[in-house]
């Protein structure tokens, strides 16, 4: 009986071209259920309506989509499956919808869909998806800003531990909110110019690194970022770790920062000053930025050699 069970759990099943073991199926079912049971105890903290239910469903879709991205980037079925499993129980993802009813997944999923479409070669659709996501994100933050019911914000950050936690978030708010957007635009323009000028070959690795870099960079300098501004980067860091396991600390650290920001927004306090998290984010930004530089140097020389 023992041997039968042992063999049974590791026996390979095949449906079409898809092969899996009983253990795979067991984890898939159990983790999916765990994701639901993880959300149930906190779901009553905010009003549960169709928007929240839809968001929870989309969080599962997002987990599948990210699994597909990892499969595309690594070719590893195990890592893809692991990505799905982790994302289903990812604390910031679960808390964002079920607990807090922010439901950022509605626009975040468009970023990842865009990224997936890019990897599959559908560049126009990818661009449209990212643009739609950006529009939805801006609308969501604007609507949330309105709900705060203030004439003019008193702080440059609304919960995300970014650059303004370091330099002080309450000085020149009405000027720095515009200036920071211009500086950010200048930085992105310079980045785009460097890439275009060096004729960098855009590999999947580089695309993933850039995706993560931008997901960290933009909320780091953009003004009025809410506590959930690291949602996209949380997931992107996990995908990056799946591609480069030596970077395991990136999703770990980002998740800690992100959930601490949630805690600060929801509970009104954190155990560490927010500025500590800002410095951690800066470290992540530098780390990923250095990875991008190394990769672009490699890809530029490959491109040069090919020519």
């Amino acid at each position: 009986m023992d041997d039968f069970l042992r063999n049974f759990i590791s026996k390979k099943w095949k449906i079409g071209t898809f092969t899996f073991t009983f253990l795979d199926a067991l984890l898939a079912v159990c983790i999916t259920g765990t994701g639901i049971f993880l959300r149930l105890p906190v779901i009553d903290y905010t009003v549960t309506g169709p928007e929240k239910i839809g968001a929870i469903v989309l969080e599962y879709v997002l987990a599948v989509l990210c699994g597909a991205i990892v499969h595309d980037c690594t070719g590893s079925r195990d890592r893809a499956f692991l990505t799905y499993a982790i994302l289903v129980i990812y604390p910031t993802v679960a808390a964002n919808g079920a607990l807090w009813n922010v439901n950022a997944v509605y626009y975040v999923i468009l970023f990842f869909a865009g990224f997936y479409l890019y990897l599959r070669g559908f560049k126009v659709l990818s661009m449209l998806s990212v643009l739609a996501g950006t529009g939805a994100a801006l609308y969501r933050m604007w609507r949330w800003g309105l709900s705060l019911n203030v004439d003019y914000p008193l702080s440059l950050t609304r919960g995300w531990p970014n650059f303004y936690e370091i330099i002080g978030s309450e000085a020149f708010v009405n000027l720095f909110d515009k200036v920071s957007m211009l500086v950010l635009a200048g930085l992105l323009l310079t980045l785009a110019y460097c890439f275009a000028r060096r004729k960098v070959r855009m590999t999947k690795d580089l695309a993933l690194q850039l995706f993560l870099f931008l997901a960290v960079l933009i909320p780091y300098f953009a003004p009025y970022m809410p506590a959930w501004a690291g949602y996209t980067a949380d997931i992107a860091a996990l995908l990056y770790c799946m591609r480069r396991k030596e970077r395991f600390y990136l999703p770990m650290l980002h998740l800690i920062v992100s959930y601490s920001a949630y805690a600060y927004a929801i509970n009104g306090e954190t155990k560490l000053p927010m500025v500590v998290f800002s410095v951690i984010l800066l470290g992540i930004l530098v780390n990923v930025g250095a990875d991008i530089y190394r990769e672009t140097t490699r890809q530029t020389s490959v491109q040069g050699a090919e020519q």
């Binding site: 936690e165 370091i166 330099i167 002080g168 309450e170 000085a171 020149f172 000027l175 515009k178 200036v179 211009l182 500086v183 635009a185 200048g186 930085l187 323009l189 310079t190 110019y193 460097c194 275009a196 000028r197 060096r198 000053p273 500025v275 410095v279 800066l282 530098v286 930025g289 250095a290 530089y293």
Partner: protein, 402 residues
Amino acid sequence: MKKTAEKTGVMKFDRMDYVYLAAITLIALAIRLILRVVTTDDWVMYWDPWISDLKEMGFSYLATDRYDYTPTFVYILWVISRLPINPMTAYKGLHIALDFVAAVIMGKIVWKVTGSRLKSITAYGLMLLVPTIWANSALWAQCDIIFMTFLLLCFYYFFEERPNLAMFFFGMAFVFKLQSLFIFPFLVILWVNKKVQLKHFLWIPVLYFLSIVPAWIAGRPLIDLINIYMAQGAQDVWSLSIKWANIYQIIGNQYFLLEYASSGTWLILGILMILMYAMARKRYRITNEFIVQMALFFAILTPYFLPHMHERYGCVADILAVIYAMMNVKKFYIPLAQLLVSFNCYMAYLSHRGASEPPIYYGVWAFVELGLLIAVGLDIWRFMKNPENLEGSEAVLRKEEA
């Protein structure tokens, strides 16, 4: 040490470059236009009353002792007082224009020392985005960009191997700000290594003297004018560090005010003497990168130990750190950390924190600055220890000794 190419030819741009340059210039201009409306304490307490007096008294204002900046700066204020536009707009407009001039010089320096068009153009863009640059001129209404522009010209002509012109621009920088002396020891090292002649140093007193002549003629006593930097130094002595992240933020900046003010000055003089002795004992191959390393090192070191340093006194190190990273991209963290320290000190003043600490304590920033000092110091040490960098005969001698 990486060998860097030298370009003397004219840089050619294509359409992509023009688009980038136009876009980044517009962005930089927009940043400054947004910030130009801020009226800071420095404007209210100094520049505005000085300009009002200049309007009222004309050039005879220069005979008074109501100003403690060098007369050259006051001549500029006199011109502004004559203009038929809002003084603050004229004042900030001039310094904003100089931001762009400095960015162009920065681009030319990077082109000269790296030979890379991409780096040169992005150096122009980054210089305009550096927060301590736009905050200094457009927001704060400060005038550091004037002497920094001259310092950049000084470096440019050193890289062009025209030391006479380089020292002329150093002299011009000194005419506007005493802080230009932060990097003076590196000029001595250049002199030891035959890159500058003693006569070139004459530009410093000559230009200074010429600059004070009009004020002297106007009626201010010569001794007053010669001692203007001394008088400046005697003000703002209420703390050993006036919001700059240096050693006094670690050991305490409110105790032994008088004692440490004097001892601290002697201490940094002693440190500089020891360093100059160590660096002058041998002749080195003076590369462009070594020049920037040395200047950056002294730009960080001097305000690190000098007492009464203000928030803005990292500005020379800020721009040198950018050039340094452009020459050696692996050192990208140096400008990143330097600018973070520097801008944090700016904001501590501009956001009217008073005596209260910024979100990250000054002591932490002071350790970061110390880390930078060590990092750049080690780079210099490695350069000096590399036998390939010793002047020809020394390298042979070393081999014989070995």
